[in-house]
């Protein structure tokens, strides 16, 4: 049973003694059934916060200030996010550092069986069988015996598979993966990515994949959204974005990937730092670091995200010129 996920103008607010800050501003995303969407950005750009808001696990001092999270059901009607717990197990999440996300006192099998018992009301035996099946699905061999093993006996890659299995135990329509391979070896990374692809092909689950690695994006994702300073600056299909980006930040990111470096020349990087959440400039937030900035970019509010075609949008005032300029990597 496929579902489409629509996130519309999501804004997250954190109240601090010095005033409110907004780690996520007007975040919009749509995910078709079976689609793999990439979410790219530097640390602090808001990608993790946005996804935590969607799953409902924001930190204590943060809350959703505005916006909608909608999931289509069997009749293609959209269920609003106000029905949080219903949504919660339709959208599951896996995390960056698998070690700390597993309870060290409980066997891995029990942790996968837990959501099965909670949501589907299975008995201990039924849940065990089901969990072992999920173990096999995520590629854990000797699943029967591994059920009773404790997390500290597992390698990083195995632990991540366990977390994926636990996420799948919720029978989700959408899986959010927050940099699941950043803490793992490259070889394991490949395995996990292949696993995710296989799951999508077999079950039709949609995946939102958070990463800062464009290489992974090019391998895995159908579409990609780029975040900068709590806002989405560009959204496009992967091929279009990587070949012809329409936002200076996206261009900078692509250029600074080691894979696209040229021999005997210094590795390009974007000069400067992203603005701090409590010191956001007015106008375009990328302005201080942008080589295409013009006077108009200094307007009082950030440029809006503009739909440039049915599946593309970006937030640069000069996108048309950049398109005709034919941005490429040099």
């Amino acid at each position: 049973m496929m579902s489409k996920l629509i996130i519309r103008d999501l804004t997250v607010e954190i109240v601090t003694p010095f005033g409110p800050i907004f780690p996520v501003e007007q975040f919009s995303l749509s995910v078709e059934p079976g689609e793999i969407v990439g979410l790219v950005g530097e640390s602090g750009s808001g990608k993790t916060m946005a996804m935590r808001a969607v799953v409902g696990i924001l930190p204590r001092n943060a809350h959703i200030a505005s916006g909608e999270i909608l999931l289509s059901d069997a009749d293609n009607a959209f269920v609003p996010s106000s029905q949080q717990s219903h949504l919660r197990h339709n959208i599951a999440m896996i995390f960056q550092n698998p070690t700390s996300y597993l309870d060290p006192l409980m066997s891995v099998g029990k942790q996968v069986a837990e959501p099965l018992r909670f949501h589907q009301g299975l008995t201990r035996k039924e849940a065990r069988t089901e969990a072992i099946e999920l173990f096999r699905k995520v590629g854990i061999h000797d699943a029967e015996r591994q059920f009773d093993v404790y997390p500290h006996h597992f390698s990083g890659g195995m632990k991540q598979r366990v977390l994926i299995a636990a996420a799948l135990a919720c029978n989700p329509k959408v899986l959010i993966a927050d940099e699941p391979t950043t803490a793992l070896d490259v070889t394991i990374q490949k395995q996990i990515l292949e696993l995710l692809c296989r799951l999508r092909d077999e079950t039709g689950i949609s995946i939102i994949f958070i990463t800062h690695d464009l290489g992974v994006v090019s391998q895995l994702c159908d579409t990609v959204s780029v975040l900068y300073a709590a806002r989405i600056v560009e959204s496009a299909s992967t091929i279009e974005l990587l070949n012809a980006p329409l936002h200076p930040y996206s261009l900078g990111l692509i250029r600074s990937q080691p894979e696209s470096a040229q021999r005997d020349r210094p590795l390009p990087s974007i000069p400067g730092q992203p603005p701090a959440l409590n010191a956001m400039p007015s106008g375009c937030r990328f302005l201080p670091r942008c080589e295409f900035a013009i006077q108009a970019c200094k307007q009082p509010s950030p440029p809006p995200l503009v739909q440039t075609s049915t599946v593309r949008s970006n937030a640069c005032l000069r996108w048309r010129e950049l398109q005709t300029l034919g941005l490429n990597y040099d």
Binding site: V55, Y101, M106, A169
Partner: protein, 312 residues
């Protein structure tokens, strides 16, 4: 199961400690200034009995020999004779150990319950009124002297309201529970602040942990997460802390037995000190030391049961 092998090995590691304990007990009594015979027998000692005692304890022998005699006597079950009670110290202590054990257990149960309830209440309502109340109590409570609490409780609940007796132990178990209620409350009120502070902090920290977040992301209820994940993970440091405080607990029991005239080994210890009944003092010290070692061992076992990462 293999991680439980250490249960067999740990007692071996404790042997040197037991050895050291016996040495210290021995040295303690031998350090008392004055004629040992008089110390052991009191002032009215006939020469024949004095000679017998000298031989039995080897009081004219070098210290090392005395120590081995001491150990030999220990293993034969001879712990010496009480001057005051005119019977073996073993009998004297055995008679009075009951009330103390009862009181200790009573306090442990009460303290564990109170700590669990108050810490949970405070941690799950962090920042709000219950939390403020519990935190204030655990702050002020650190400075509550057990003996003073006992007396205030007597004043209020025994004398003024006449709900409880002021002293004694009672006959049946039900009576024991009744007589020892106020003593147990005094100790609990003084012990629990430290335990609550630790458990509350652990609970809050575990509630914000990554694995709790992961469980929440799967739609688990807060209650489910609390009892399946947060509480077990918080118990390990809490149990360790309780083990560390067992020594304090014994001290509190000694004091409370004085306040409420409970006929346990705490009161016996104090009266023996004033009566210069040193062999009784020695035996009680030894017994309590062994109890502490045993409790620490139990704490280690419990920790291993809960936390699978622990091994030898």
């Amino acid at each position: 199961m293999e991680r439980f092998k250490f249960i067999l090995f740990r007692p071996l590691q404790l042997l040197p400690v037991l050895f050291g304990v016996s040495v210290i007990s021995f040295v303690m009594v031998r350090s008392i200034p004055g004629d040992p015979v008089r110390l052991l027998l009191g002032t009215r000692a006939t020469p024949e009995v004095a000679a017998k005692i000298r031989a039995q304890y080897g009081l004219d022998e070098p210290l090392m020999t005395q120590y081995f005699l001491f150990l030999k006597n220990l293993f034969q079950g001879d712990f010496g004779r009480s001057i005051v009670y005119k019977t073996s110290t073993f009998n004297v202590v055995a008679e009075r150990i009951g009330p103390t054990v009862f009181l200790l257990t009573y306090v442990l149960v009460m303290a564990i319950l109170i700590t669990l309830i108050l810490s949970t209440w405070a941690a799950r309502r962090q920042g709000r009124l219950p939390d403020v109340i519990v935190r204030s109590y655990s702050m002020v409570g650190l400075g509550l002297p057990t003996f003073w609490l006992g007396i205030i409780l007597i004043m209020q609940f025994s004398i003024a309201l006449n709900w409880f007796p002021t002293s004694g132990y009672g006959e049946s178990v039900a009576e024991n529970l009744y007589y020892l209620f106020l003593p147990a409350v005094s100790i609990t009120l003084a012990l629990s602040p430290v335990l609550i502070r630790n458990l509350r902090a652990s609970l809050i920290s575990e509630m914000e942990s990554d694995y709790a977040t992961a469980a929440r992301s799967r739609g688990m209820s807060e209650n489910g997460i609390y009892f399946s994940h947060v509480l077990p993970n918080s118990l390990v440091p809490a149990i360790t802390l309780l083990g560390i405080n067992f020594a304090w607990l014994i001290g509190g029991t000694v004091v409370v037995e004085q306040v409420f005239s409970v006929p346990g080994i705490g009161q016996l210890m104090i009266s023996s000190i004033f009566a210069r009944d040193y062999l009784v003092v020695q035996l009680i010290t030894l017994v309590v030391a062994i109890a502490v070692i045993a409790v620490n061992f139990i704490v280690d076992v419990l920790t291993a049961v809960i936390d699978p990462r622990v091994h030898l």
